[in-house]
Every structure is written in C-alpha cells, then in structure tokens.
C-alpha cells in the first residue's frame, strides 16, 4: 500500500527523522505528515500508513495526530489553497465579504475544492497579519488589504494558470511544493528566499523614528558582563514572592480586587518551585487520613507499568524505563507531598 511513495520521498523521510534524537523519532511525525501531503496533496490513508511504517507507530497513532491539525487536509486539495481570514479584525474590515464573495464566485464552501482541481477555499482564523487586514493567503503567502473584487480577480488569474505575486514573501508555488518546505526543506527556487520586501505597516514605527531623528538610547557594546566569581555578589534580581493572599478554601470571597482574568493568569504561571495549592493529589484531608488520590495514582502507575497499553502509549511513556521512572516518581511524590503538607501546617 505504501509503495505509492517515491524513493525521493523515502530519502527525505530518513533525512527528517535524522534531525531528531535517535530514540525520539516520533518528533518527526509533523514534518513527515507535511511530506506525505507534498506528494499526494492531502494526508491519505496511504500517507498515514507510510508515516506509521517509517516511525514504527501504528496507524491509529498517526491518524489521531493527522486529524488534530488544520493544515493536514483529509481530502484531495487543489493546486492553490486560498485562505481568507475571517477572524474579528479582518472580519470587521471586510474579510467576511471577501470570503462570501469568493465562495459564491467559485461555487465551493469551506474546505472544498473547485471542479477543475485548481483551488481549495477555506476561511482561516487569524493569520497573524492584523496590521495588513483584511488579508488572504495563497498557499500561505500573503495578499494584503484585499477587497471582494480584488480577490475574485486573483482567483481568476490562478485558474487561468497565472501566478500573481504576493504582497510580501516569495512568488507562488503549488501547495504540494509548499508542503516540502513545511517538512523542513529549503526553498530551492533560485532567489526565492530573497523575494519580497517588508510591507509598510511593519516599518511604520521605524519610519516615523527615522523621519524625526528619534532613536533608542545608545549602548556600549563593550559593557562588561559581571562575573559572580569576582566576589561581586549580585543582589537577588527579583523581589521575593509575596505571601499568598488567598484563603485555603478556594470558593470564598475574592482575595483581592484584581479582575478574575488577571488573578487566574497569575495562578497559571506560579514560580516553578512553589507547590501549586490546588494541584491534584497535594491536598491532605483535614482529618489527617492518608491522601487517597495519591494512592490511586500510584496504583494506576503500577498497573500501567505492568500492562503496557496497546494503543497510544503516551501516558505511560514510550519504554519500560520511562514507566519505571514514572512509577518511582509517583511513589516518592506521594510520600513527599504528605510530609510536605504536614510541615507546612
């Protein structure tokens, strides 16, 4: 089944896998999926089987990953993937009309391909070019500040076999050719890396500064890097963390007057060395009984170690050694947390 892939693709697959540590070849899965897409225009069952074969995974493991990501297409695509941003900013600036007009003009909906096999249309969620909005991309290269008429003209040119020049970035190639680059290979077209100039919005602040002779403060590139070995003991760079202001019961009155989003954002990124107060398994019941959840976790880890999962082995790690490590960590932190909590009281 996997014989549809050429020797060139197989050689490229080996090259991709070699980029990652030998025992971590699974890291090559995303680029490999781009690679099979470069040959078939989408991730076909044969493409999934190919990735599974070269990485020693099963097809379900590969399929689960392929179906998660938007850029892996599950049906044959056209030569040109036309993506119109319809997220809020482009939308209010006219992106929705651009998309609606194109859908009507081409007679296709989201993620559908025209009958001549030239164009696949999709609406995209923020293409990270809001200062150029409304934007659309063709095989991910940008056309800035588009309007419905301009977009129709663009797709007509594509269907007529022309390749209009993007506003920024390199000249157009087909989606299959682009997928080779996405798999991590250099753009081999002569001079393509040099194509395109910075758009004005990217340079606006700079031009303004230049026009008015404004610059950031200058620096001396020979400013010494202070050496701690010279006996110059540096002061602590960050102020000590304030004592937690929250109560131990999470659902009483707010501990401060911050907006809930701000407070939540702060608890999302605690000091990495601080135990998170409400992390599962770290709370000790007030009556001093042994912490149940931890026991359950240790038992689960032991069970997992004894019974290697048949499917996606992610939770238990990829090998017996990792499982052993998980088990011993589960055991030690189980005991540790009970002791720590005792000490904190």
């Amino acid at each position: 089944m996997t014989t549809v892939f050429t020797d060139e693709t197989r050689a490229r697959a080996r090259e991709i896998i070699a980029r990652y540590p030998a025992d971590r070849s699974r890291s090559a899965l995303l680029p490999l999926l781009h690679l099979v897409q470069s040959e078939e225009g989408y991730v076909s069952p044969a493409g999934v089987a190919f990735c599974a074969e070269v990485l020693g995974l099963n097809k379900a493991q590969v399929g689960a990953v392929a179906s998660f990501y938007t850029m892996y297409k599950r049906r044959p695509t056209g030569d040109y993937l036309v993506s119109v941003c319809t997220n809020t900013m482009c939308n209010v600036l006219g992106g929705q009309e651009v998309y609606d007009t194109l859908a009507e003009h081409l007679g296709v909906g989201h993620d559908e391909t025209t009958e001549d096999g030239k164009i696949t249309l999709e609406h995209a969620e923020c293409l990270a070019a809001c200062d150029y909005g409304p934007v659309m991309t063709v095989n991910y290269d940008f056309f800035d500040g588009v309007d419905p008429q301009g977009a129709v003209g663009l797709v007509d040119e594509l269907r007529a076999g022309n390749r209009p020049t993007p506003s920024r970035g390199a000249r157009l190639c087909t989606l299959k050719e682009m997928s080779v680059q996405l798999a991590g290979f250099a753009d081999e077209r002569e001079g393509a890396v040099a194509d395109g100039v910075p758009g004005e919005p990217s340079l606006r602040g700079l031009r303004l500064a230049q026009q008015h002779g404004v610059a950031a403060p200058g620096f001396d590139p020979n400013t010494p890097i202070r050496s701690s070995k010279a006996g110059d003991k540096p002061a602590p760079a960050t102020p000590p963390k304030a004592a937690p202001t929250g109560t131990t019961a999470p659902d009483v009155a707010a501990p401060d007057r911050k907006s809930p989003q701000v407070r939540t954002a702060e608890t999302r990124q605690p000091d990495a060395k601080t135990a998170v107060p409400d992390a599962p398994g770290t709370k000790v019941p007030t009556d001093g009984a042994a912490p149940g959840p931890r026991d359950a976790q240790a038992a689960e880890a032991a069970g997992v170690a004894a019974n290697k999962p048949a499917s996606d082995a992610k939770p238990a790690g990829d090998d017996a050694e990792a499982q052993e490590r998980n088990l011993s960590e589960a055991e030690s932190t189980g005991r540790g947390s009970a002791n720590d909590k005792g000490g904190q009281k």
Partner: protein, 438 residues
C-alpha cells in the same frame, strides 16, 4: 493626518525592529555588519551562570504574553543533573491581533538565531528547536536559510567559535493549531503528539521536552538577549518602566490611520500610540480595544491613559499579553466582535477538558441566537455562568482567554447586547446561520 508631538515621538525606541529597515539584514553578511554575532562572541567568553544573572538583572520578562521573568526561568533549569537540556522557541504566533514575531523572523531572522545560541549556552542546552507556526512559511523560509548560513560559518554545530560548546538547531513547522502556543501543548506537539496541554507541575523547567529540563521562550524574548548581552542590564532598564523593563513591539491594528508595528518603551499609553499611528481613521471614534490580543479583557476609551506595561494594564483589569492592540470604533459592534473571537476559541479548543470544549461550543450558539435577534435576557446570565465555569476551571489558559472578551464586553457594553435582544438593533446573522443554535 497630524504629526505626533515631539514628546510622544521620543517614546519610540526601535531596538528589535531596527534592522528591518535594512532590506538585506536577513542575510548573514549584512547582519554581521550591523552588530550581528558580536554578542555571541562576547557571551561565549562569559560563564553561563553570569549570563543568566545578566538576564535576571536586566529585568527582561517574557514577550509571549505572560510576562514571566526570563532570567528566573533560565535559573530554574537544574544544572549538573546529567540530563540533556533543551531550549524551545515558541514561534507559534497565532493569538488574534498578534503580528510582531512574523515580521521579526522574516526581516531579522539572525537576531533570533543568535539569541538561541546564547540562551542555549547559558542553560547548557545542546539542542534547540524553533517551533514556528505552520502557516508562517515566509518567515520559516528566511529562518531556515539563516540556520544554514550560520552552520556554514561555524556558529552552530560542534565547538562553536572554539568555545567547546556544541549546539544543534532545528526549525520545526507546526501544522495549524493555536493551542500549540501554550508551552506544554507545544512540547507535546514537538514530540509528535496531538498538541494538548500537560498537567503542571511538573513544570517544563524540570520535565519539559522528552521529560528533560526545558526552557520555552517567545521569539521576542530570545531576540532581546543579544542586545542585553551587548548593551548590558542597565542600558536595557533605561527603557520601559521599573518592573516592566525594555522596549516592546506594539502591534496596532484596526480603525487607526496607520496600523503597524511601533516599538516603544513599555508603559506607553494607548493615547500616545494612537497619536503615533496618525490618529483614528476619519469618522471613527474609539469604542473598545484589546491591550494584548483577544485573550485579554477589552478596555474602552476611558482607559486611553493606562500605562501599557504588565502592572498598569493589570490594574485596569486586563492583561498586557502580547501587546497586540486591536482598535475598534463606534462603527464596530462589540457583540459581533466577541462572537467572532468565540468562533475562534471554539475552533481552536483542543478538546482535552470539558469546560473549554463544551463551554465555547455553547457560547457560540448563544451568540448566534443573540445576533440573529432571537436572544433572551436569560442568555446574558447563561453567558456569565458559562464563563464562571470556564475561567480557572479549564485545563490551560486557552479557556481562560475565551472568557475575557465575553465578560468584559458584558461589563462595558451590556446595552449593545440588550439592543439585539429587545429588537433595537437589526439582526446581524440570518436564520440560516442559526442551525443547531437551539
């Protein structure tokens, strides 16, 4: 268009963006003429611990949205533990409104590569990855080219510049998943799995990529490092505010005369930024704006003078985020804007946790109903209740972020919602878009 006042112009501090004016700065020859790789030579002569201390002293905070002190993060990496260490650059720019990292990697890719080498040396990593958003092909093209140029020069690979330090750098393209901007989801994705966030603790500092100590930093953070190495901590702190040091790229989009990237010291106000951008577009008056992307609560015209640093924006009830400043006017509808953002969160929710997966699904449907003129007063309570059950209860910050525009738009613009519900505003969506909304 009016010319900004001199005192406002003086707030421009082009540092990270400066080379963008040199059209060939993406090539190593030009880059090296513009101070390029001078910081690398200087850094490799210093002790790695001293570099970590330097970054701590500079007060550099993460440019990816959370603002965590960078030096502190580096310092968490256990040294002498016998495990491999990793540096992973988060270049998965995709937060609605954010558009600062892509131009940086396109026009000045070497500044990121140089930062990667220095940061890896500081944390003793011998492998580094740049996880770049899949769609960002124009930036990835330049970045891959930069890596090849650097390898040929001997700044990557074995025994870099005779220092005995080895480093391999791989540019890894994602495949279209906003969630992979969340650092633990990014690590899972980089390991070849679905990009879903991990439970923390343990933190990436001890169990990151391949269960080894890992630093995950944003593009802007890492690209700042060479400048700090050259100019020193005190120079860096001469820009910005006491707690939010340094320059920051403010990405202005929307109803202003000149949208674009404006690099200023942290702490500038929106009023000043709009002045730099030539004012509002004719006929538009500021109504609402995001200080740092769609995951940060909306602010209004009453917040024009809030200092846009980490502390100032937090005091105003929002989050500085990525300084992706999306500016909307009285001709834009906050209800519709919020609906579109929710469609985004609904689409991008990874499905791992119920509050985010289900909450966003249902909120989208409530919004469609309201915008089709079929909303009820109870819908507003339903929205707030749903947000209560997502914020802080979802697995990662994606769910939290989804609630930001909902609760803030209801706080400031409840009347706009009522106008749809009570029939004073014409429906914006038609019945056919309502399928499945009941």
């Amino acid at each position: 268009m009016t010319t900004p006042r001199p005192e406002t112009l003086a707030k421009l501090t082009p540092v990270l963006t400066k080379r963008w004016l040199s059209p060939d700065a993406w090539q190593i020859g030009t880059y090296e003429k513009l101070d390029g790789y001078a910081a690398l030579r200087k850094a490799l002569k210093a002790h790695p611990d001293d570099l970590i201390q330097l970054v701590k002293d500079s007060g550099l905070r993460g440019r990816g949205g959370a603002g965590f002190p960078t030096g502190l993060k580096w310092g968490f990496i256990p040294q002498g533990d016998g495990k491999p260490h990793y540096l992973v650059v988060n270049a998965d720019e995709g937060e609605p409104g954010t558009c600062k990292d892509l131009p940086l990697m396109t026009h000045d890719p070497h500044s990121l590569v140089e930062g990667v080498i220095i940061a890896s040396y500081a944390i003793r990593a011998s492998r580094a990855y740049i996880y770049i958003r899949g769609e960002a092909v124009h930036a990835a093209r330049r970045l891959r080219n930069a890596v090849e140029e650097v390898k040929a020069k001997g700044y990557l690979g074995k025994n870099i510049l005779g220092s005995g330090f080895d480093l391999e750098l791989v540019v890894h393209s994602g495949a279209g998943a906003y969630i992979c901007g969340e650092e633990t989801a990014l690590l899972d994705s980089l390991e070849g799995f679905r990009g879903q966030p991990r439970l923390r603790p343990p933190f990436p500092a001890t169990h990151g990529l391949y269960a080894s100590p890992t630093v995950v930093n944003n593009v802007g953070t890492i690209a700042s490092v060479p400048y700090i190495v050259l100019g020193g901590a005190d120079w860096w702190k001469s820009m910005g505010t006491e707690k939010s040091a340094g320059p920051m790229i403010y990405s202005l989009s929307g109803r202003i005369a000149n949208p674009g990237q404006y690099e200023c010291g942290l702490g500038i106000t929106l009023r000043e930024l709009i002045e730099l951008a030539g004012g509002m577009q004719p006929g538009h008056n500021l109504k609402f704006w995001t200080p740092g992307g769609s995951s940060t609560p909306l602010l209004t015209a009453e917040h024009l003078d809030v200092p846009m640093d980490f502390e100032g924006v937090a005091a105003a009830g929002s989050i500085l985020g990525t300084t992706a400043t999306q500016i909307f006017s009285d001709q834009d509808c906050p209800v519709y804007a919020t609906y579109r953002w929710l469609e985004f969160y609904h689409h991008e929710s990874c499905g791992k946790c119920t509050p985010c997966r289900e909450g966003n699904y249902w909120m989208v449907r409530v919004y469609r109903r309201i915008l089709a003129g079929q909303g009820t007063h109870d819908d507003l309570d339903t929205l707030l209740d749903t947000c209560d059950n997502i914020l802080g209860r979802s697995f990662c910050g994606l769910g939290d972020g989804a609630t930001s525009s909902v609760t803030s738009s209801l706080k400031y613009f409840k009347q706009d919602y009522l106008d749809y519900i009570e029939g004073r505003t014409a429906p914006k969506l038609s019945d056919k878009q309502l399928v499945g909304a009941h």
